[in-house]
Structure formats: C-alpha cells, structure tokens
C-alpha cells in the first residue's frame, strides 16, 4: 500500500487561473480531508469529504471547492487564484469520518502562484 498519494507534486500557475489537485486515500479509507500549509505555518483545515459529500468546512472562501468520487479519491479545486494561495496542499485520509480517527497524510502538492 503506497499510502495516501497526491498529484501533481509541484504546480506553477498565474493569478486568476484555476487549479485542480488530486488525492487517492490509503487503501480501506473512505474519508478525505484537505489542508493548506503556508510557509512557516501549521496546516489549516479546508474541508472534509465523506460518502461523496462535504462534511465539514474550514474558514476558506467559496473559490475553494472539492469533490469525492465513488472510489473515495478526491479533488481540490481553486478558482481565481491569488498570490496568497501559494502553499503546500496536504490531503489526509481516515476511516469513517469519526472524530479521533487517525489521519494519514500524503506528501502534498506544492502550488506556486505567480
């Protein structure tokens, strides 16, 4: 099991563009959470998907949206990119969307907005 995988590894976009990041959860996991980690900061929760629905959302604008597919993989979409969206985007998977279940993190996608 490769664990949580994310693609692409790195991405460079310009302001105003749109981006899609992808995540495959650890085998057997059905819940995916997305986090944004700015340089020198801890990860910040964006949202969580379970049973193809957004279960919980952090303090992020509507430009950030997501999707979960029947195979539990997930996408994070960001529209109208701003310079401040430059960050490492982490995906984490867990089982059952229950509080306290261990979340397993992927390696992240490094997004640079120019």
């Amino acid at each position: 099991d490769a664990g949580v995988t994310q693609s692409p590894t790195h991405l460079i976009k310009t302001r105003g563009q749109q981006v899609t990041l992808r995540c495959s959860p650890k085998s057997g996991h059905d819940t995916v959470s997305w986090y944004q980690q700015a340089l020198g900061q801890g990860p910040q929760f964006i949202f969580q998907y379970y049973e193809e629905e957004e279960r919980q959302r952090g303090n992020f604008p509507d430009r950030f949206s997501g999707h979960q597919f029947p195979n539990y993989s997930s996408e994070l979409n960001v529209n109208a990119l701003l310079l401040g969206d430059s960050a490492l985007y982490l995906c984490a998977s867990s089982l059952g969307a229950s509080k306290g279940d261990e979340q397993f993190f992927g390696p992240g996608t490094r997004l640079t907005v120019l």
Binding site: G3, V4, T31, S33, Y35, G40, Q41, G42, P43, Q44, F45, Q48, Y50, R55, Q56, G58, L90, A92, S94, A97, S98, K99, G100, D101, E102, Q103, F104, F105, G106, P107, G108
Partner: protein, 112 residues
C-alpha cells in the same frame, strides 16, 4: 475560539539532554490532543495521541486540562529526533468530524 499555540519556533538541545516541546490549547469542550511529526523529506505522521497514553520513541505527553496544555517530553534526546513537531487538536462533538487544528510547529534540533 479554537486554537493551538506552540510558543517556540525552534528548540535546540544536545544529544542526551531532556526535551520538552510546549503546546497550549484553547477549546470550549473536550478535545482530543495529538502530536504529529515530520522528519526531513518525509510526510507528516502521527506520533502520539493523548487518549492512548502511550510512549512512542521515548516521547510522552500528558493532557493537563487545568493548564490547557499538552507538552511533549523525552528524557534523553537522540539525533534522530530532529524534526518538525506539530501539536493538534480535534474536537469531540457531534458537529466535529475529525477536523484537526494545528499549531505553528516547533523545529527540534538535536546537536551531537
């Protein structure tokens, strides 16, 4: 407000010295507390959680509800402990589905 504070950005100790990484939290309810670690060029991984009350790699952490703290301790630091450490909390409520709130992280540097 839900918040996790790690007051030290960098903690530098010599090998064999005791280590204490500080974590304070603010949460109106009964949280679950975690320590995550990120070694160089590796992904973020769970080190320990307060409900399991385990010692992992010689590290322990006790939840002090009175002081709202969850400090990470190790009596004798090893060079391989050098990493970034994040304290995190998850709320225990019906509306919380495992969202993690992280501190800013502390870099632990263990010198030979």
């Amino acid at each position: 407000a839900q918040r996790v504070t790690q007051p030290e950005k960098l903690l530098s100790v010599f090998k064999g010295a005791p280590v204490e990484l500080k974590c304070n939290y603010s949460y109106s309810g009964s949280p679950e507390l975690f320590w995550y670690v990120q070694y160089s060029r590796q992904r973020l991984q769970l080190l320990l959680r307060h409900i399991s009350r385990e010692s992992i790699k010689g590290f322990t952490a006790d939840l002090n509800k009175g002081e709202t703290s969850f400090h990470l301790k190790k009596p004798f630091a090893q060079e391989e402990d050098s990493a970034m450490y994040y304290c995190a909390l998850s709320g225990r409520s019906s509306s919380n589905t495992g969202k993690l709130i992280f501190g800013q992280g502390t870099t632990l540097q263990v010198k030979p």
